[in-house]
């Protein structure tokens, strides 16, 4: 199993370690629920060094990325600006979802998922050759996400002095950098915060200083409930290569304009649009008793209409929520099969919670 540079610190801080995508990572450090609330109410930090930072450089890197990604990097005009995108195969299936940062016309940076890194790298390198783009996975960098309403205030004084002023002024989805430090106002929790990429050998010191400054360590368990409440998809659960972004609540991330931008998967998406998209991803709020879990079956009357792709207890809402893939069309109240019993649930539009507040109610 692979270890991030912070592995021994997680153990020292009481992390309950589990295997995740080939990595030995902390599930929680005592209570997943308390960690969830800590991020919604104050500030928490996540070791996300298992994710892969990939640098892409070359004269033709921009046309390369406009071909590779379903969203259009041509939207990125300001250095440091970030874009969320899916990377599709020819069938329109989702190879991975990622964030791409624009540094300058010949220099972009991507952050891809841990569990998909090998296939992502193979796919990117295969297509990069024709564009003579240099693709470099930055295994020398660690990444710490600091999230919560107090996250930026608590993290800012601990950043290198020459970066602080720039980071303080960052707009959402924008990054600043100096040397090997790269700080973005992004995250996966529905709260304000920063994602800090830095040289591996400096990560332990930053983690400890953040802790001393009142930022609590948060495990993968709370990371999952926070992102689910924020209505954000998890690769491998809510989408994978067998579905398109149109069937995954991610139509907003596909840039069909301009019409002449030929990106990988475009013909398949257009064909699906012409034919009609048969499945959709929706939010569910459990109105009956129980807990929604991945793969539970959903019914409208007697008709089976789909299944839950991510389900769990939502600590901010004190009830159970889920993302589910169901037949297209209007839906109102549906039933979930929980251990053989039908339990009522309400279809809602994600996100379920943002910035510490519930956005839906029973």
């Amino acid at each position: 199993m692979k270890h991030t540079i912070l592995n021994s610190i997680h153990r020292e801080m009481g992390g309950r370690m589990v295997e995740f995508g080939g990595w030995d990572m902390p599930l929680h450090y005592g209570s997943q629920l308390e960690e969830h609330h800590q991020v919604r109410r104050d500030a928490g930090m996540f070791d996300v060094s298992h994710m892969t930072v990939v640098d892409l450089k070359g004269e033709r890197v921009k046309p390369f990325l406009r071909m590779l990604l379903a969203n259009d990097v041509d939207k990125l005009k300001v250095p440091g600006k970030a874009l969320y995108s899916c990377m599709l195969n020819e069938d329109g299936g989702v190879i991975d979802d990622l964030i791409v940062y624009y540094l300058n016309d010949e220099d972009y940076r991507m952050v891809v998922n841990a569990g998909t890194t090998d296939k992502d790298m193979a796919w990117i390198e295969k297509h990069a050759e024709a564009y003579r783009v240099n693709v470099t996975p930055r295994r020398d960098l660690a990444m710490i996400a600091v999230q919560g309403p107090q996250a930026r205030d608590k993290a800012l004084p601990l950043l290198p002095a020459n970066l602080r002023e720039f980071v303080a002024d960052l707009k959402p989805f924008q990054a600043a950098w100096d040397g090997s430090w790269f700080v973005a106002r992004t995250g996966y929790t529905g709260e304000d915060g920063l994602e800090i990429m830095l040289p591996e050998e400096q990560a332990g010191e930053l983690w400890r200083k953040l802790f001393e400054n009142g930022v609590a360590p948060i495990g993968l368990g709370a990371r999952d409930t926070l992102r689910l409440e924020a209505g954000m998809n998890l690769y491998g659960s809510d989408m994978d290569e067998s579905v398109t972004p149109l069937q995954s609540g991610l139509a907003w991330t596909i840039a069909m304009d301009p019409a002449d931008r030929g990106f990988i998967g475009r013909p398949a998406l257009e064909a699906q649009q012409r034919k009609g998209v048969e499945k959709q991803l929706v939010g569910l709020l459990l109105t009956g008793r129980g807990v929604l879990r991945n793969h539970q079956k959903l019914f409208a009357g007697d008709r089976e209409i789909g299944e839950i792709t991510s389900g769990g207890f939502a600590p901010t809402l004190q009830t159970s929520i889920a993302l589910a893939r169901v037949d297209a069309g209007a839906l109102d109240d549906i039933d979930v099969e929980i251990r053989g019993k039908r339990v009522p649930a309400k279809v809602v539009k994600p996100p379920f919670a943002r910035h510490g507040k519930p956005l839906v109610s029973v």
Binding site: L27, H28, S31, Q32, L33, G221, T225, R289, G290, V291, R293, G312, F313, S320, R339
Partner: protein, 129 residues
């Protein structure tokens, strides 16, 4: 190291049983079980008056991570359930052997406690878990 009170009996599936001495027993899940499950968020209990067989699944505890069946270690009739858990399932995490009890069973005449484990025997199982 989890807490295993010496005066209780146990099962391999991590229930504890307290002999209340009047033909009834109280049943819950062990400290080790609650620790494995993590924060509990939902509990489904049997109905008072239900008759249960030894080894029958009769309750469910769900944590942030997973759902787990609870088996009745004895045969008998459910005479009381811990209704306070419906609004406060975390009580099981905080006090698995006292406030976090699940249900009470009036032992059937044929009920047999000889298959239940002592604290030492349960400790041995936990050690290999």
């Amino acid at each position: 190291m989890s807490d295993i009170p010496a005066e209780l009996l146990y099962t391999k599936s991590h229930e504890w049983i307290r002999d209340d001495g009047d033909g009834t027993v109280t049943i819950g899940i062990t400290d080790h079980a609650q620790e494995l499950l993590g924060d509990l968020v939902f509990v489904e209990l049997p109905e008072v008056g239900d008759n249960v067989e030894s080894g029958a699944d009769c309750a469910v505890v769900e944590s942030v991570k997973a759902a787990s069946d609870v088996y009745s270690p004895v045969a008998g009739e459910i005479i009381e359930v811990n209704e306070a858990l419906a609004d406060a399932p975390e009580t099981i995490n905080e006090s698995p052997y006292a406030e976090g009890w699940l249900f009470k069973v009036k032992l059937a005449e044929k009920a047999d406690l000889s298959h239940l484990l002592s604290a030492d025997a349960y400790q041995a199982i936990e050690d290999v878990d």
